[in-house]
Amino acid sequence: MKKLSATQHEEKPDQLPINCSRRSFLQKGVITGLAVGGSLLGLLNKPRVWAAAADAESVVGSLPKELQQYYELVTTTPLGPSIYRDFKPKKSAPWLIGYASSFGGNTWRIGARTRLQKTLLPKYKATGLVKDVITTEANLDLPKQIQQIRQLVDQGCDAIMTIGAAHTALDAAIKYAHDHGVLFVAIQGGVSSPYALQVSGNYALCGKLQTQALGKRMGGKGNVLIVQGIPQAQASGDFQRGHEAGLKEFSGIKIIGAVAGSWVDSVAKTEVLKFLATHPQRLGGIATQSPGDIGALSALQQAGRPIVPMTPGGEMGPLAYWRDHPDWIDLAYQGWPPGDEMEEGWEVMLRTLEGQGPKIASILIGPGPITHADLAHLLPPGTTYTSNEWVEPPYEKWFPRKTMDMYFERPADPLQPKG
């Protein structure tokens, strides 16, 4: 054993003779080493472009022309034939449904869940088609959502709807559901599994239409700031891709920055304020993702900058601002009404359980335009700029029955199935 000197015995362990500057140097060195090592690993994994999903298996071309427009800009969603064309459920109605949500903590999720529990479940229970809905929430914990999906399968669910916490990570759990004869429907944001039936709005297309309107309002020139949602989230990436595609059509428009608003108004406000503090140049417009519009708007007010046109989605607060300031923008687009998106997923699931046979792996719908004249009937009296509820177009307007029928091989009214 190493012998210790008398002085070493007297030294406190936290006073071992290491020079402070040397310590600091070493500390920085190790952290830099970690960063450099990581970067080298990063170089090994060169940034990838999302695999184009418009692959050889795509059946978009075989769909009616009215539907093909909804697939513009789609790159990550499977477009092959649905594996549920001839699906037969494990047992006949009434069916037990599982709803595995990744989290429930914002107004969008509350709106979606309210439609499910208060409207859809009672209506379909009354017809004897649905026995019950089991709801689970994972609070953005991915391993927990995987566990909950497997649990819903084991609990005997005939179909599971999910809003996924990740694009690829649920694949094994989805395969587990498929292997056990359970229909799996992914709403609001895609998953990569070929065993899922996907239903959602086309967020990239919505983003493109939003910035086309913004670009026109700006007269085709000026500086634009992009406020993203959660950059790692699939839907956020889709919206941003659409925003950039729309702005590309205007040669006089320059994107001068992008900040992450995280789909929370307070975060969006903080991030936009930080950006404005370091970018004194004149801003011509902001491409936002709802929720986040009101945050960006109040950041402009707080910074004493002129209010510029934006791209509000369906949140009531920014639409109320537009109601009172008609010159702010010319047109808005609702890309994801929460209740209607829940209902479209529910209807696709029920139709598939009834054996109607979806034609394609991903059923998409385009965004709905909102004009200033629409606001009178969309916004309830007393709506303020801080209202964070969502406007809901009537479901029949959002996803008309005729349009839904075109997506199925053997269409019928889901409340009155044939046979």
Binding site: L34, L142, P143, R150, A166, T168, D171, A172
Partner: protein, 345 residues
């Protein structure tokens, strides 16, 4: 005293000492049994082949991750490894994208790579903590931030597919598969390591580093060694995690930090250092998983999110308070004395 009476008395003392040493396992064990009983009554499918396989693959990453941070907690002081989540994520990304890209997808290459990278990361942190005498929490928090940012730079979005043999773990329907064998191997490895003199040195250093120092234990290499042991388990936990999600995800793994530290505390570890048990960590992690499982068997309907969060927090607080009361023997004695004196007056 006769020799026979002395032997009986020694045996009694040993048993008492053993029981006293296991007191920290009382709370996680009771919680584990209670949760199992509720699961048996309310979600009996857990005890089917499918259910057990799901439990194994679902709980294993957290169980092994908690074991990974245990040696660091033992090495103390305030030995909380906050970097575990992003470290697992980095290894997950490199397994799925880095190794696949250069064609190394066989089990041997993947195991060696995962464990090697885990050891490398932990050894670097251990060196920083031991040589520069920087607090473990500060260093691991810094590494958490570095790795968390790095992961999203390397991979902005979730993508890729794990080697087929690894991703098949996520849809396993039987317990007799790698989802059982790999954690079992980790337990055996832990049992072997924890019986070595080196591990005893880590415990002594965690309990009192001055005593350890004057006893001739080399503090720097012992602390780095504790991190190297942790690194082995970080690598295994990353493998289990990659098997669970079957792909690379830049952000999802970060949640393991909070879960693993919570599991460590429920498992009876002292964050002051010197005291933590592998079995306690395993039980703590299983408890965390079972709380989530049991709550998912109740249909909370419209307010599911809030009720699940509230109930999880409440169960954790109650179990930690109960654990504090049950394990704090001297505190109990003081409380009993005060209570009795007060009663007497």
């Amino acid at each position: 005293m006769t020799p026979k009476a002395s032997t009986v008395s020694d045996a009694k003392r040993s048993v008492r000492r053993f029981i006293s040493g296991q007191r920290s396992l009382l709370t996680p064990s009771i919680l584990f049994v209670v949760l199992l009983v509720i699961a048996a009554l309310h979600g009996p499918h857990l005890f089917t082949s499918d259910g057990l396989a799901g439990a194994l693959i679902g709980a294993s990453p957290l169980v092994v991750a908690t074991m990974a941070i245990t040696p660091i907690a033992i090495a103390g002081p305030a030995g909380v490894d906050l970097s575990i989540g992003p470290a697992m994520t980095l290894i997950n990304i490199e397994i799925v994208l880095g190794l696949t890209k250069i064609g190394f997808t066989g089990p041997v290459a993947v195991f060696v790579f995962a464990i090697g990278l885990g050891v490398l990361l932990q050894a670097a942190m251990g060196a920083l903590i031991a040589v520069l005498r920087v607090s473990t929490v500060v260093v691991t928090l810094a590494v958490y931030l570095v790795l968390d940012g790095l992961n999203t730079v390397i991979l902005p979005h979730a993508e890729g597919a794990a080697p087929a043999w690894l991703s098949s773990w996520g849809s396993a329907s039987t317990i007799f598969s790698p989802v059982l064998y790999v954690p079992l191997a980790a337990f055996v490895l832990w049992a072997l390591i924890s019986r070595t003199t080196f591990f005893r040195n880590i415990r002594l250093m965690g309990a009192n580093d001055k005593t350890a120092f004057v006893s001739g234990i080399p503090l720097i290499s012992t602390r780095i060694g504790a991190h190297v042991i942790a690194g082995v388990f970080v690598g295994i936990a990353s493998l289990m995690y990659t098997g669970l999600i079957g792909s690379a995800d830049p952000t999802a793994g970060a949640s393991f930090t909070l879960s693993a530290v919570t599991a460590l505390v429920i498992g009876g570890a002292s964050l002051g250092g010197g005291h933590a048990k592998g079995l306690g960590s395993v039980l703590g992690a299983m408890d965390i998983w079972l709380i989530s499982y049991v709550l998912s068997t109740f249909n909370f309907g419209l307010n599911a999110s809030y009720w699940v969060q509230f109930t999880t927090g409440a169960v954790l607080v109650v179990s930690l308070v109960a654990g504090g009361i049950l394990t704090n023997a001297s505190g109990n004695r003081q409380w009993q004395e005060k209570w009795l004196l007060g009663w007497g007056k």
